[in-house]
């Protein structure tokens, strides 16, 4: 698939799943979407290997945009990007945007075939207003 993939990372597996459901309802199957949440024991938190798996599931040659909720989700996502194969690293970005609204905006932009930087900008416009 050529559209930018969307990864949703929340401390809560339920929030991550719910946000992904909302995105799918908006854009159907035209955009690869994956979600991950919870620490390695299943409690609240985020885990690097879960994020790596989600990036893999949402992978697109156009790249992947990650939406995160709180601090640790961002730090863990940045760590996960650094652990990707070098060829993939430059094609994954973390968006500075609210997780639910940002994911919906990013996916809508992606569904129109926009490139990764435009998808990121669409999500981040929410922070400017």
């Amino acid at each position: 698939m050529a559209n930018v993939g969307i990864v949703i990372v929340s401390h809560s597996p339920k929030v991550a799943e719910g946000a992904a459901d909302m995105v799918r309802q908006m854009v159907g199957t035209t955009v690869p979407v994956a979600h991950t949440g919870g620490n390695p024991d299943g409690g609240l938190g985020t885990a690097v290997d879960g994020i790596l798996t989600a990036i893999d599931r949402a992978w697109s040659d156009a790249g992947v945009a990650i939406l995160v909720d709180l601090g640790g989700a961002e730090t863990n996502s940045e760590m996960a990007i650094e652990m990707l194969p070098a060829a993939r690293q430059a094609r994954v970005v973390v968006c500075n945007a609210p997780v639910v609204e940002g994911a919906v905006m990013a996916a809508t932009e992606s569904s129109g075939g926009a490139p990764l930087d435009a998808v990121k900008r669409a999500a981040e416009e929410l922070m400017a207003s």
């Binding site: 401390h11 390695p40 409690g43 609240l44 938190g45 985020t46 885990a47 640790g72 730090t75 760590m79």
Partner: protein
Amino acid sequence: MMDQGVQRKLIQAVAETMIAHAEELTALDQAIGDGDHGLNMKRGFEGVLANIDVLASQPLPEALKAIGTQLVMKVGGASGPLYGTLLMSLGKGMPADPTLEDVGCCFGAAVDAVKARGKSDTGQKTMLDVLAPVQAELTKGGRDLAARISTTAFRAAEATKPMKALRGRASFLGERSIGHMDPGARSSALMITTVCNVLGG
């Protein structure tokens, strides 16, 4: 090369200290964070202990990198990547048989890597408020270095109490974060004093 027995003792002592202080760290984190720091560190270091035979037999730089990776994968929460970055960066620069200057130099680079990872600096009520003064003391060298570093680490963690948090979850509390010790500063101090006790004793 570092004596394997000493390396094993070091890994075991640090892991056991973090596990033993899990409740204390969680209580500190409940005051100003999300209350998972102790449990997260415990999970990470239980993973390290389970793998201690391999870690103790590796050359020091490889062992540091492996422990760092394990913390990144197991801890969950921001402290995983932060402590993972600290140890992986230490391992990256460290020769197999480091001099004191080597350790000082690598530790400096590792502290910078933590600053970059957390997009933070000293004075923001974080683990950096312990790591930076420890780095300064370490580069001085001289007599009773291990004991001096321990004291520095302990005092630096205490000194985060009056600070206002500017990074991490605690920053949401603003002024209300004042009066509580930063849990990451405390866990850093515990880790450093344990290393000093093993190497300096």
